[in-house]
Amino acid sequence: MLELIDITKVYNGRKRAVDGLTLRLGPGLAGLLGPNGAGKSSLLRIAATVTRPTGGQVRFDGGDAVARPGPLRRALGYLPQDFGVYPHLTALEFLTYLAAVRGIAGRSAKARIGELLELVNLAHAAKRPLGGYSGGMLRRIGIAQALLADPRIIVVDEPTAGLDPEERVRFRNLLSDLSADRSVLLSTHIVSDVESVATRIVVVTGGRVRFDGEPGELVRGVAGHVWELAVPPAELAGVQQRLPVTRLIRTAGHVRVRVLATHRPAPDATPVAPDLEDAYLAVVHRSRTAA
């Protein structure tokens, strides 16, 4: 089990990216949601042993993973948000190298790399230099390398950036399978990435946890607080100033606006069933107004 206990990360002695955050990861997929600059990537780098926390503890199977990161690294699959590759190596050569770094036996590595390349739909490009890969293909190589050693803990940062819709669906299926008996921590600011697969949602803003629970619980929290109304285009700015708008669609003559409000915001507003995006935006809005 991976535990992040009272984690703080301060950059340059000033910028507090993570602020006393605690997270315990068991089997299942935890979707880490938060706006840009919320501290998600810092938290993931700490969980992946890449960055040392300024304060707090990272414990893996009871051991101190900050002082002795080896055991966690051997059990970890990590996909950073931005990463490079050796452009002159083929996908096969690159994964073979990484398998050797991880100490995977030759025969096992060869078979597993073949299967992983099929899994990420790159078997046809296995012998092409990575320098010729598109952004989406590289992202899939990143996913393959994260699964090389059959990790118990999987930490992925914005994994679907650059993937086309078909690949996103494939990736969601993969995550769903992986999370059956592994701990998966997935950071994103795209709610639909975690909507159908996450067993747990953690919303982070300003380096702190604002919600930690099941997706259904998050959605139930805003039941009765989501409304739709039609406004003339000229009045849209006023509505946006007054209320948090989660969606808007322009049609001929007016704009259909979906807003968050504890009470009916206008006589013609109709209540609608909230979804995960409404619930997430409500948490983010609450944390901003509280600050």
Binding site: G84, V101, A105
Partner: protein
């Protein structure tokens, strides 16, 4: 000029200023800039040493000027003209590459900024960085004048005049050369870094000659102001037999011819900086690839091709079935490190290595080895520098094993490129030569690994190693790390165990830096 023309001109000037200042600010806000300024202070200290010292940078026939404002200005200006042209080139040679690396170049290319304006902005930024170092040396010179106490009269004009007429033109040449090398195919590679060392050597020696074009560095103007002839005048880092006697230097004589020559050198530098506008790719990656610019040869074109090719549709079939079984992987790790080191070497590198190998059959083992161990300088320079896959590898286990494998790959490269001389030494029973060879094979990649790890830049090794190699082939036996020089048939350099020990110490430095960075991650 019509209104539209005037508006365009105004926009160009403001873009030029904004670009130069943004680039300059970006550089001076990096910690490395502070190190550069500290280096400039050290260089100033070297130029104005205590009276008793025997290490000097200017020897005017066994004499030096009294430390007046004018003389400390002269000697520090000449020092910056001589040494900042070497070191400064490597320090500022990243202005365009940074824009490529960060993607800022793409943003600029999509705007109305004209290529000559871009180049002019980068040139001025280079010059500002070098100028700030020279300025630091000028301040150091003034402090040292007061500290040494030979003259208390402060004359800012006399102090700065040599900087304006001797240092600035040379710094302009350096700023322009760095830009020219960065924007020209072939020169922009590591080959350009090595080439500059030799260009600088030729310029530093030839530029002091009285017959140098446009006065060279400008030391010809000092004739008659010092008790030295062309034969007894020395500029560079020298050890003298006894402390230099002193004389009163009258100041830098300025005449129209000299000023015109200095202005001409500066104008030529400006022209050289703008010349690449004829071929600069303006961040068009496809053009860059065609010109052999991209480090990933053919990558832009290949990426475009990858995007245009439809991918086969496959159905998700579930997780891999094969377990990841732990097992021995050292051999595969080493093979992969060798592949990473060698992959991407162009065809001409392999052809050159083969030719040098053949030459090694004809030449004596020493010179053959020296030839064999300069050729892979660009490949060795990759060792220890920021790895392309660093973001992924940061969360991988066994960082020490990886570093060792990286070094071992460099050692194997040394062994391969020095194999023929080794075989010949083996055949002739040259045990000491073989021991020196083995120590050298450990030393060169260890040096690359240490410098790469410390600085994170390939160009450090690309500048340091050829200088070391050059000294060795010029018979400086004390530095012969490979046993190329012989005395009575035996290697004339330091003992092989000492070289091997230095190699291990350098590896330990690399290892220590990696550990320290990991601890402070």
């Amino acid at each position: 000029m019509n209104a539209l023309g005037a508006r365009r001109k105004g926009r160009g000037v403001s873009a030029f200023t904004a670009l130069a200042m943004a680039d300059f600010r970006e550089r001076v806000r990096r910690p490395a800039y502070l190190v550069m300024l500290i280096s400039a202070v050290c260089l100033g200290w070297l130029a104005v040493p205590p009276a008793s010292t025997r290490w000097v940078v200017l020897d005017a026939g066994g004499a030096r000027g009294l430390y007046t404002s004018g003389y400390v200005g002269l000697v520090t200006a000449l020092t910056s003209a001589l040494w900042l042209t070497l070191v400064g080139f490597y320090l500022v040679r990243d202005a365009v590459a940074r824009d490529v690396r960060t993607g800022v170049g793409q943003l600029l290319a999509a705007g109305p900024l004209r290529t000559p304006v871009y180049l002019a902005g980068k040139f001025v930024s280079n010059l500002l960085v070098l100028g700030s170092m020279a300025g630091t040396m000028a301040v150091t010179a003034l402090v040292l004048q007061l500290l040494r106490g030979e003259s208390r009269a402060v004359d800012p004009l006399a102090l700065l005049t040599p900087f304006v007429f001797l240092a600035v033109p040379m710094l302009a040449v350096t700023a322009a050369a760095a830009l020219l090398f960065e924007t020209t195919p072939v020169l922009r590679s590591g080959f350009g870094n090595v080439l500059w060392l030799f260009v600088w050597m030729a310029g530093a020696i030839g530029g002091q000659s009285a017959s140098a074009p446009l006065g060279g560095i400008g030391v010809g103007q000092l004739a008659g102001t010092m008790p030295a002839t062309a034969d007894t005048f020395g500029l560079g880092l020298m050890y003298v037999d006894r402390p230099l006697r002193t004389f009163e230097w009258p100041g830098l004589p300025l005449d129209a011819g000299f000023v015109a020559e200095r202005a001409a050198v500066t104008l030529i530098a400006v022209a050289v900086a703008l010349l690449p506008a004829l071929w600069f790719h303006r961040f068009d990656t496809a053009a860059a690839t065609a010109a052999g610019i991209a480090s990933t040869a053919g990558s832009a074109a290949a990426r475009a091709a990858a995007r245009s090719l439809p991918e086969p549709y496959t159905v998700y079939k579930g997780l891999p079935r094969t377990a990841a079984v732990a097992g021995p992987a050292t051999g595969r790790l080493l093979a992969a490190e060798v592949r990473i080191l060698l992959r991407g070497a162009p065809w001409w590198w392999w052809a050159g290595a083969a030719l040098l190998g053949l030459a090694g059959l004809a030449a004596p083992p020493g010179p053959a080895l020296a030839l064999g161990w300069i050729w892979p300088v660009l490949l060795w320079s990759r060792l220890g520098t920021g790895r392309d896959a660093a973001a992924i590898l940061a969360a991988y286990p066994a960082p020490r094993r990886r570093l060792l494998a990286e070094w071992a790959a460099g050692v194997l490269l040394a062994a391969a490129t020095g194999a023929l001389p080794a075989v010949r030494m083996l055949a002739t029973g040259d045990g000491p030569g073989l021991a020196a060879w083995a120590a050298g094979a450990l030393f060169v990649p260890a040096l690359a690994l240490a410098l790469g790890t410390l600085t994170g830049a390939q160009r450090t090794f690309q500048a340091v190693y050829p200088a070391l190699w050059y000294l060795v082939i010029n018979d400086v036996a004390a530095l012969d790390y490979m046993g190329a020089l012989r005395s009575a048939g035996h290697p004339a350099g330091p003992p092989a165990p000492l070289v091997a020990a230095v190699a291990l110490a350098l590896f330990a430095v690399a290892f220590g830096v990696v550990r320290l960075r990991h601890a402070r991650r």
